[in-house]
Symmetry: C2
Subunit: 341 residues, 2 copies
């Protein structure tokens, strides 16, 4: 860039002081400056194509007007990528609404888990949205205790850090209730991931709760464990269907895993929905493209992003809401894998 114009240049051209330039351009209230002067300043700024230096502004305000999304890339990479566009859109929309910029900071598997600390301590950002928080709790807690604004996307049990997540228990229960309504009694389940993952545990809990409410026993032989990807779903489903008394319906807590399960079902020569009814979870793009189209539980990615960003910004601006642990509802999307409704 060529020499940028500074407020000094504008002041000189308008024949006023830099103070006046700042006052006019920032529209500071309760300060009376003659309309003529205002106009001269504005005219000068326009003529010079002047944009105030964000860096200098930040130094004096002590605020960056930036929030960062810290995106942990783990073994669930492909799985989580499906949520990224929606989440980012929600975050950036809320950010723009409140006048903030968004920094995107993935933490790759080869980086230390706490690499984001520098972002906060070095004043690169006013607050952090952490997605996929893991065992990095000690640095995280320290930061939180030091009063640095943080919001979690997901949950970290045992802390009171503000967080936004989907109501996994309820979403899973709703899916299973739907299957019960359809008359199914032997309902198998494949989790989205090992139970160390909170969401996985919760979706299993939802399954159990729904069965329990219907007076049905929890039968471990009907449950298998997925591991984010298609392959895990194929293996799990195949194992589940190898039993003598097959389930008549399957609740699979991840669409990606369901894709593999559907393959296993197909390879066994079974038809969906005639021989077996299937409900997924997440509503990834592929869910509506496959045949038959997958009935699934939609995760409100945009809403998660918007809510997490709004919550964070309100904390930054010392206006936190009452409720700082937010659970968003899912939506059951009925398509074709359980027959026509």
């Amino acid at each position: 860039m060529p020499q940028r114009p500074t407020s000094r240049d504008v002041a000189r051209l308008a024949g006023v002081s830099r103070t006046t330039v700042s006052l006019v351009l920032n529209n500071v209230p309760d300060v009376h400056i003659s309309p003529e002067t205002r106009q001269r300043v504005q005219e000068a700024a326009r003529q010079l194509n002047y944009y105030p230096d964000a860096i200098a502004r930040r130094l004096v305000s002590g605020r960056t007007r930036t929030i960062a999304l810290v995106w942990h890339r783990g073994p669930d990479r492909t799985y989580r990528d499906a949520f990224l566009p929606g989440l980012l859109q929600g975050i950036t929309r809320a950010a723009r609404h409140y006048g903030y910029y968004v920094l995107f900071r993935p933490i790759e598997p080869d980086e230390p888990d706490d690499s984001y600390v520098e972002l906060a301590r070095g004043r690169h950002t006013d607050g952090l949205i952490l997605s996929g928080p893991r065992s990095d709790a000690s640095h995280l807690l320290q930061l939180y205790e030091d009063g640095f604004p943080i919001t979690l996307h997901g949950q970290l049990p045992g802390t009171d850090i503000p967080s936004v997540d989907v109501d996994n228990v309820r979403g899973a229960a709703e899916a299973v209730n739907y299957l019960l309504t359809l008359g199914h009694r032997r309902i198998g389940m494949i989790t989205n991931a090992p139970l160390e993952y909170t969401a996985s545990r919760q979706r299993l809990d939802g399954y159990r709760q729904a069965l329990e409410q219907a007076g049905l026993p929890y039968d471990e032989s009907l449950v298998r464990y997925g591991n984010f990807d298609e392959e895990s779903g194929q293996v799990a489903a195949d194992d589940l269907l190898a039993q003598d008394e097959r389930p008549t319906a399957l609740f699979i807590a991840s669409d990606m895993v369901a894709m593999g399960a559907l393959r296993a079902i197909r390879l066994r020569g079974l038809q969906v929905p005639d021989d077996l009814c299937v409900v997924g979870f997440d509503d990834i793009t592929a869910a509506r493209f496959i045949v038959p189209a997958l009935t699934t539980v939609r995760v409100p990615t945009f809403g998660l992003g918007w809510t997490a960003a709004e919550l964070l910004i309100r904390i930054i601006e010392h206006d936190p809401p009452q409720q700082t642990k937010i659970l968003l509802d899912t939506e059951l999307v009925i398509r074709e894998t359980c027959g026509a409704p």
Copy 2:
């Protein structure tokens, strides 16, 4: 955050001047400072948990060490979202490699096309990657002429702004050649979008070139125009297949559009690949989940991101490569929609 420690605090604790603190912590070469002093400074910094203020640093260096991805959201929103995770990963990886942060700035349909100008002029970032550049050429050109570092993801014909894109012509030609090799002579095409979109025009060109090289005439009655989404593909394919002399193969320049086309094919009672062979473009996630799995042309999203970011950073650092218009190769991914290879 509580009172942040400053370099003054570190200096005081270590019993040296702020100059020395800066020199030691930044590892400035060619300056001799006793090992004891160095250690005292480092020890003090650690003890205070000192992180230099990025804002202050930026003010003196005049550099933000940040690049921004400007993401135009148009009518092709869902279509382009499929590329976002890969692209962002490529960009952030390259950025990290060179020591930069990444700002993500979508431009929503309700915003002026040139909203990103403030990002550049206000020194929020050292450079811009523009994805999906449109008619905003005047502001863009002005910025470029002023010497502000810019890289395009995609192409803007008629300018010499550095850009990174996929070789659409070649990718399309390769797909069609594959169909020719399989023995097809009546090959229909559905574009990914209207021809105003450069990529759309180029993919059509690739189709024509391949036919021409094979000595086959270009037959307009075999070509239809998609419009990013499934619906457009369904309409286009249905129209194409309504003809007396049906094509035996379809090259569809977008997987998303192909999803709709496959539905139309299915609804007409035709079988893929037996009655009709199909090749897509993009390799979205759904491509490998549908049955039969879609043979398609893979777009190297990670590579596009990495290359665009690297190119931009080299420009920022006054070390531009010879070639500033970069075309990346696609890869034909053979799956099941044209029969087993």
